[in-house]
């Protein structure tokens, strides 16, 4: 039986040749993402802005969004945000909570539910979320803090396991991934809530996974081919790991694609974010983390200093090669 190979043997793609162009594009994408977030803002869910959100399910195809919007406006709780889920039978209706005492907030909850019941008698309410201003501020803070901490902690780990240049490269790649995901949410105006923070943390973990596999091979080759120029060496490492990168990304795409297609629409945004993250994460490990190593001047000496341990390092490599042949 002939087995399938997604990537042909012995590829020799010169990834690094395009590093300047790639870097310019990446930086432009980051800037565009930041600008998008600044200009359009994120469609923050009740988790982060407070308020109440009700999921309304319709037995048949639902009325047009505008009709829902105008009907909800008559309930008298101010302007509502209507968000469609992955299906065409459910929307989330979000309103702010009245300022002040808790009794008013409680009444607003009952008022919204009753209002929806009269406006759409056949619809059912699937879930209700109410988050007070104070709690949403805390969730926003801890969400942002956990993202920052994850990026820093993981970079420090890489710095310890590899070298500082690798840590810096990883940190930059992570920043790139997170910034682009934010940009995506600003562009599509999909709801940004706590689940998306979890997705972002997963993307960070996944993107790093990819980066580490590449870094691990670079470190190995740096020790093995001490005379090789850094750019061909990086290209070689990227090509050697290319089959694995494509295979893993492909299986992840299968799993997440299925989840997006038939999975619960409640986690549509979450799955979409992760699917996007797989693409961005794969790209950034190739075009962000590796080129940074060139600019930060990583060389064979980064792991085995030439002056003292140079010979020992050379011997070790040779012994390993012998061992492999025997």
């Amino acid at each position: 039986m002939r087995l399938l190979k997604l990537v042909p043997d012995d590829t020799n793609i010169q990834f690094l040749k395009w590093r300047k162009l790639a870097m310019v594009i990446s930086i432009l994408m980051i800037v565009a993402s930041i600008a998008l977030v600044a200009a359009r803002g994120l469609n923050l869910g009740v988790d982060f802005v407070g308020g109440q959100s009700v999921r309304v399910e319709f037995p048949q195809a639902m009325p047009p969004i505008d009709e829902i919007r105008s009907k909800v406006a008559t309930i008298g709780l101010g302007e509502a945000t209507i968000q469609q889920f992955g299906s065409d039978k459910a929307v989330s209706i979000r309103t702010a909570l009245p300022e002040g005492d808790k009794a008013a907030a409680d009444r607003a909850g009952a008022q919204l539910l009753a209002g929806i019941k009269t406006a759409f008698p056949t619809a059912t309410t699937g879930s209700v979320e109410t988050v007070s201003g104070k709690v949403s501020e805390e969730l926003l803070q801890t969400g942002a803090l956990s993202l920052l901490l994850a990026m820093v902690a993981i970079s420090i780990y890489i710095w310890i396991r590899f070298e500082w240049q690798f840590g810096a490269g990883a940190l930059f790649a992570l920043f790139h991934d997170v910034a682009l995901t934010f940009g995506f949410f600003a562009l599509t105006q999909m709801q940004f809530d706590l689940n998306i923070v979890a997705a972002l943390l997963t993307i960070i973990g996944y993107s790093l996974n990819d980066t580490i596999v590449v870094f691990d091979r670079i470190r190995e080759n740096l020790k093995k081919y001490r005379k090789m120029e850094i750019i061909p060496l990086l290209d070689l490492s990227l090509n050697e790991t290319l089959a694995r990168t494509v295979m893993t990304s492909f299986t992840m795409l299968i799993a997440l694609g299925v989840l997006l297609w038939v999975g619960p629409d409640v986690i549509f945004g979450f799955t979409a974010a992760m699917l996007l993250g797989i693409f961005i994460g794969t790209y950034s490990s190739i075009y962000m983390s590796a080129p940074i190593l060139v600019w930060l001047k990583v060389g064979p000496d980064s792991f085995v200093p030439r002056t003292t341990a140079g010979m020992a390092g050379g011997e070790r490599v040779e012994r390993k090669d012998d061992g492999a042949v025997v």
């Binding site: 979320e129 969400g143 993981i154 689940n195 997963t202 996974n209 295979m247 299986t251 619960p264 992760m274």
Partner: protein, 537 residues
Amino acid sequence: MLDFPRWKTISISIILLLGVLFSIPSFLPEKTFNSLPSFMQAKVNLGLDLAGGSHLLLEADIDDLRTTQLTSMEKTVRAAMNGERGPDDDIAIGELSTDGGRISFLVRNQAQLDDARDRLFSQTQGAALTGQRDWNIDIVDTTRIVMTPTSAGQTQAVADAMDSARDIIDKRVNALGTREPTIIRQGNDRVVVQVPGLQDPAALKELIGKTARLEFRMVDPNADPAEAAAGRVPVGSEIVPYAEGEGSGATFEVLRRQVMISGEQLINARQSYDPQSNEPVVSISFDSGGSSTFAKVTAQNVGKRFAMVLDGKVLSAPSINEPILGGSAQISGSFTVASANALAISLRSGALPVKMAVVEERTVTPELGADSIRKGAIAGIIATVAVLVFMIIVYGRFGIYANIALMFNIALIIAIMAAFNATLTLPGIAGFVLTIGAAVDANVLINERIREELKRGRRVFQAIDVGYSEASRAIFDANITNVIAAGLMFWFGSGPIKGFAVVLTIGIITSVFTAVTVTRMFAAGWLRNSRPTSLNI
């Protein structure tokens, strides 16, 4: 690397078998599950977003607690100054104020100042183990005593109040008869209430949002309505507003400050009907002390009115037609059966020591939860099958090994989650699917490395050996970073995200075990038994 002693094979097999065994109960219907031996009765919990139910986060009103604390200390002071040995023993005080969170009063006879202070010392205690007192007692201007709550005392008071608030909420929620509610303290001043399978959170909120501080107080007969409307009331009385929808036109009553009888003196409360109007009411009975006070006061005040005050609002103010001697009474107001029942439960479980407000609510109906489970399961199965087929197409024999390891991995994750009684949430299902991807990644790394080593001209045995050892390093590093990310999610995340982090962490650990160790065992067995000279990978 490929040397597998017998004990290792046996222990790996035992772990895998246990994993499969303990993952089974989670798939069984409830009835079969209950007939299992007790050590097998551990299954994965479903989170509220899957099982349906309500999650409420309640926050204590600390200012309210301080006020209550101050009022009760004021009572203590007045009681302490009334001596135990009759009127001769009394210490006359005046100008008592509670402004600025402190109690300050004048001792009229300077000679009694030290005595007054000593009496207060015995009424204030040390705050837990801090060695500090809960109130500082100072003498100011040689005539005044000023009592200030210490920060240790206040912290202790909040902690005590929150503990008892948790217990009371627990009692109230359990009185609803729902299954397996979770009520836990969170942080300094919060309580989390999770009730699975609940359809209507409104009743739950009604029940636990009520402080249920019940007081019976006399209506001040001397108060002039016009004066009172302008905010002027006789000394020793105060204006208390009517609860919403009560009072039939009147908005307030002028009540004596002194509490005739309070909710603490109740022994029972239940919903019943008023024999005349057939309206829902709450019937209450007092303990013996409460009964005799009630009998005495009502006997002395026939023809006057008293008021039932709940959480600072008047419910009703009926006239006393005759002395009430039986030690029982009816609380009337505009109740429905449900609200009367909720009040009865609240009164039975005691008043909350502090006002609590709902600051976060998440409710999912059981139907939506069931729908999510169904779709999640379908997605999980399709994704798994697709990945399995794909692995065989790409890696042949080693793809099959990876697939068997993957199945064991799924069983192990479920078994460990069941053993720790962990909760599966909706993002957790996504975590599951993701773990499948991650587990496969480890095998991809290994298999690609084996391919590479074969290409370099190594023989089968060495290629596999080097493939495993070289790939393991990258697998380890890559998974550590995932554990860091998952750890942070668990630490900071709430509810569903925690569930995701739990699945991810367990999945990462088990997938390293199955994808590396278990497949290596299969590979070693194959190498030993068939001594292959070529490998199609």
